[in-house]
Symmetry: C2
Subunit: 336 residues, 2 copies
Amino acid sequence: MTIKDIAESCGVSISTVSRVLNNHPDVSPKVRQKVLDAAQKAHYVPNNSARDLVKSRSEGIGLIVRGVGNPFFTQIIHAIERAIDAAGYTLVLHQISTDDDEIMAGASLARSKKLRGLIFLGGKGDYQSSDIAILDVPFVCCTYTVRFTPLARESYSSVAIDDKMEGYRATRFLLEKGHRKIGVLINSKHDRSIGELRYMGYCEALAEMGIPLDETLVEEAGSFTLPAAYEATCRLLERRGDITAVFAIADSMAVAAAKALHDKGRCMPEDCSVIAIDGLEMSSYFVPVLTTMAQPQTELGTTAVKTLVDMIEGRAGNRHILLPATLRTGGSVRSI
Amino acid sequence: MTIKDIAESCGVSISTVSRVLNNHPDVSPKVRQKVLDAAQKAHYVPNNSARDLVKSRSEGIGLIVRGVGNPFFTQIIHAIERAIDAAGYTLVLHQISTDDDEIMAGASLARSKKLRGLIFLGGKGDYQSSDIAILDVPFVCCTYTVRFTPLARESYSSVAIDDKMEGYRATRFLLEKGHRKIGVLINSKHDRSIGELRYMGYCEALAEMGIPLDETLVEEAGSFTLPAAYEATCRLLERRGDITAVFAIADSMAVAAAKALHDKGRCMPEDCSVIAIDGLEMSSYFVPVLTTMAQPQTELGTTAVKTLVDMIEGRAGNRHILLPATLRTGGSVRSI
């Protein structure tokens, strides 16, 4: 059974069958259903390998995701998927684990799938020019940018929030509410990526107010996981029972911190305020709602795709776009 | 630059270079680093297309995920990934949206990537034999099974919890705590899948106790999303302010239900108890911890892979495995 047979049995043109099977929008629902029924009845399977050969280098965009289960990525992935589809390309999703090298993975995927470009979702901020030389298609770092090495700005693109600035804003918000003993919950002070940047923002906000950095207020969880953040908060509370607020650098860490506060007999926000960065949908359903610097998740995804497609289609070169986070005021912070 | 060149420059064998580049474990860390450095310096990219041709039909297993951002799938995907790797196969992950046909997507992926088998994560329980005839590789339905059509049991494999039984157990738990006016929060009474099954379990538990089904206690959210579950709970509370408990068929829905209870001036569990099914990690960090029938997420993933690999390697035919959920007792249910 070929496309031609299906077209004949439905009394439509071959191009109509092709449009239906490739999910193009310009077919009436009635005809679409007729063609799909005929294709299913005939057990027709589109031969994508053959199609890939014909359309070589014409439509695939790779999305390399570090930690596909990260709830913060959910909405961004959906936005990227929709935007890639709307731009007429096909999404090739590839997940890597925390320790994998995203550049190697991306280069390998781009070559094997003949991709036109790559989006990296989650990654390191310390690429060297020799690292990225392996990539022979345009690429966009989404949710992070390279800040820890002198990588030429024109050699890559990025779409992210200003992590240092948002760490500053979150801390500043607590300071303006009267808090002075502010614990900070981070994955690592030296991750060469978003953790280090958000922590730098914390330090900067304190310095601006003339408050010396107190290392006993800084707790490293070692990762972004809930159990690690819970244990880290317990350590922080044991060492510094006098804190009135916590800046957790991610919503997921704040969720665990709130639980640790409760288990240690402290009410949030009465005894201790909590603020975070990210803006997970689920944390807006907490009681009290988590106050957080919400990242523009959908816009991060659509802007990353637009930036990449502009390069692929020759409309623009490498660009760096910083999008602002938005303060989502919940009930987890109080004035003192 | 070829593998041979890298081997010569490092003074190791070609097979050692190959093992390093394919991430095999039996290479010393020192040699591994040396080879990786040389490969990176040379901008060497493994040509997976060529490798795929050589190893045709030898190593790919496809994972079709309906809703890759579903937090419930996170741990299962990780388990599947590890198990596929340990069995010597390569994971090919493909996400589909809620409305996509997973069978068509799987058939297309299996053909284009020359896969050895497929795992469907999330799907419908009403396949016809004509639907699955399109698949020419073994496949496993993970987290669901086909209960709504008389599909021959030997024509497919499944690894799931007994959704109806767990719905029964959750409702029964509330009944044993003295609750009689139990609202049920579902996506749809007629989704031909896990929603309908869990709802059937609710009905069965009531019937067993001689309690007639009261339709005013049943609220359909239309989906599993947080906003839909929140609105549905508000409707339920407006209609039936006298309920003392809610059975939400998914943890995510229970999170939204707890928020709706709070916003309507009710305390959980003092005024209204909540129980769910799934066992998300995050819901165990709630205050109070959500009481739920926790699915064995890691075991679901590893068992799905084992079932599939046994078929691929000729050790077994199609099988159906039901794994028990475990009651995770939190603080969201009280006795009345």
